[in-house]
Amino acid sequence: MSAKLWAIVRREYVERVHSKSFVIGTIPGPLRMAAMMIVPALAARSKGKPLKVAVLSASGELRQAVEAALREEKIDGRDRFDIQPAQAEASEAALKQAVLDKRLDGYLALPEDAVSSGSASYYGRSVTNRIVLRAMERTVSAVLVGRRLTGAGLDPGKVNELTRALDMKTIRLSEQGEREDQGAATILALVMLMILYASLLLWGQAVMTSVIEEKTSRVVEVMASGVPSTILLLGKLLGVGAAGLTQVLVWALSLLGVSLAAAGPIGSFSMPEVTPLMLVSFVVFFLLGFLFYAALYAAIGAAVNTVQEAQSLAFPVMLPIILAMISFPAVLESPEGTLAVTVSMIPGMSQLTMFLRIVVLTPPMWQILLSIALLGLGILAVVWIAGRVYRVGILMYGKKPTFPELVRWVRHA
């Protein structure tokens, strides 16, 4: 029997891996992984040409002070702003025209009462470059506040020193050591979570489609006359699962590769940390989650005649996975909270939530193992049910069964 199972697994695997969609989905994976690592790192710093701006103010003295402060703004040793000296008599209309003619990126207009009212306006072709504009706002604000302090007879330098704002760095502590987290880790966690979620749905549905195809092409009767339906189902799950695993491994290994390379020559970027535990659990939770969902999808495929018919039955199956996705902000917020721990134990949700918890904080090992064990039990239960629906369903053509009918199949198969 094992030779037959092997033949089925091999056929399923070869058919998937040879398909165009597999190649298209897998090969750019490493590139996407590289992008996943580098883009968050790059996004954390702002980059690009300095912003070409002019300052418009009724008071020449205020204008010069603001200009000087903006010139001082540096990022990685380069100027953030390229200040175009504007004549005192420069009219707002002329500046507007300069912006529209692309001689300027924008201009900052300070009203006469700028110091007392604390108001200013920035006009620019693009106002979505938040990071740069935030820096401008901060700088101008500092100048205005400094003026007010001087006006009140205080020394801005002294005040500044006394009211220095908190500069809090966030450092992730784990058994593997400590590392400064600059937000990129959260982005990475969410991206990995999305990939896991999409892979589970994609490969689960691949199983469903393939069951429906076997029904449509009637090949399933020939198959069922050769091997028991349980072997047929198992072979399909393992074969398609192996193809999915191949894809996920290619991705995970390239992620590891990029992460190792990042420690070297481009180490100056703040790369998000990828631990071996994260990669291993990515693969493990993909496999377990796949078996759980693929078995359910196989049962749906066996029960219906067309992919269209499958949609309404597929929704209840997707519900736990959707709930898991909805719960992720709460899990991120409090990875050790009751909700997070509970959800990371429920089979059908745990493969996403436990993975997310591992990425953000490394939960106690017993929780990870318990979650895996429960998921294992869940898989056994689901495969048992799916096997029964599958056995009856593959030979049923015609009307789509109702839910009570499906229950009857499970009870009497």
């Binding site: 076997e214 092409s217 399933v220 198959m223 006359s225 050769g226 030979l395």
Partner: protein, 305 residues
């Protein structure tokens, strides 16, 4: 040592409210060509599926080649279902290797065996092509090869000749007879009565899940008596149907098949026909399996109603 390739005892199968097969018992002798007949929905496919363990019977036992039916025993059967099925995107050669593997044959062996079959059924040029590039007839031939590559001792074929052109029909019929000569037991399910009549030694007729006829073809025909008359003639033969003793007329225009009342003498009929028509043929024959089929099923239908 048992002389039967298949033995079914008291098989019963019901689906949600309706009984598909009812207390069915039959024996298929080894080395025979066995016809499993019955109108659409009679329960033939359900019976074959139970033999192949695709469905489990509610009651009764099945014995294959003298053994209780388990999966090892089923590897000795080849089954070609009425609904053909091949993987559409698989290359023919790989498909055949796979189908053989499902029956426990190693790839090397399967490759060696498929050559002569592909030659014989004119598929050799299509060996490296995908199934969905093959015509329907070719797919059917490919399916047949997939069914016999593991050299089954019992071959169950459902409508093996339907959809084939006359040349392919002859090749396939020859192939079936060759297998039989080599000792394969063949179970043939078909609606093509002339094929069944020519190929089969024994037949079983089932209707509404029950067996209503069982025996050697010659015996079944003899049992129905030599009361069929075949007439070929020129002229208007419409009067013949109303002659005394004629029970049933199958009219082909210039050719008639008549069923006479049991025990009635065909001589007066011959005289009357010769007097009024220009006869080319007048022959007293056994009824065709076709007629026996129609008559038996109709009678059973009335009794049941």
């Amino acid at each position: 040592m048992n002389d039967n390739a298949l033995v079914l005892r008291g098989i019963r199968k019901a689906f949600a409210g309706h009984v598909a097969v009812q207390d069915l018992s039959l024996q298929v002798p080894r080395h025979s060509v066995f016809g499993l007949l019955g109108p659409n929905g009679a329960g033939k496919t359900t019976t074959l599926r139970m033999v192949m363990n695709i469905l489990g019977p509610d009651a009764g036992t099945i014995e294959i080649l003298g053994q209780p039916a388990d999966h090892a025993a089923r590897d000795r059967i080849g089954y070609m279902p009425e609904e053909r099925g091949l993987y559409p995107r698989m290359v023919l050669e790989e498909q055949l290797v796979f189908m053989a593997a499902i029956k426990g044959v190693k790839a090397k062996q399967a490759l060696a065996r498929m050559g002569p079959w592909l030659e014989r059924l004119s598929l050799a040029d299509w060996r490296k092509r995908k199934t969905n590039e093959l015509s329907k007839g070719m797919q059917q031939k490919a399916q047949f090869i997939a069914t016999v590559l593991h050299q089954p001792e019992v071959l169950i074929v459902d409508e093996p000749l339907s959809g084939l052109d006359p040349v392919a029909t002859d090749v396939m019929r020859e192939a079936l007879l060759d297998l039989r000569r080599n000792g394969t037991t063949i179970v043939l399910s078909s609606h093509q009565m002339d094929t069944v009549e020519r190929l089969c030694d024994r037949v079983v007729l089932i209707n509404r899940g029950e067996k209503i006829l069982d025996g050697a073809v010659s015996e079944v025909k003899a049992r129905h008596g030599k009361n069929t008359v075949v007439l070929a003639f020129d002229g208007d033969g419409s009067f013949i149907g109303s002659l005394p003793g004629v029970v049933k007329v199958t009219d082909f225009g210039q050719y008639l098949e008549l069923r006479l009342e049991a025990g009635s003498d065909p001589q007066p009929l011959l005289r009357e026909a010769a007097a009024r028509l220009r006869l080319r043929r007048f022959e007293i024959v056994e009824p065709s399996l076709h007629d026996i089929f129609v008559e038996t099923v109709t009678r059973h239908g009335k009794e049941a109603a």
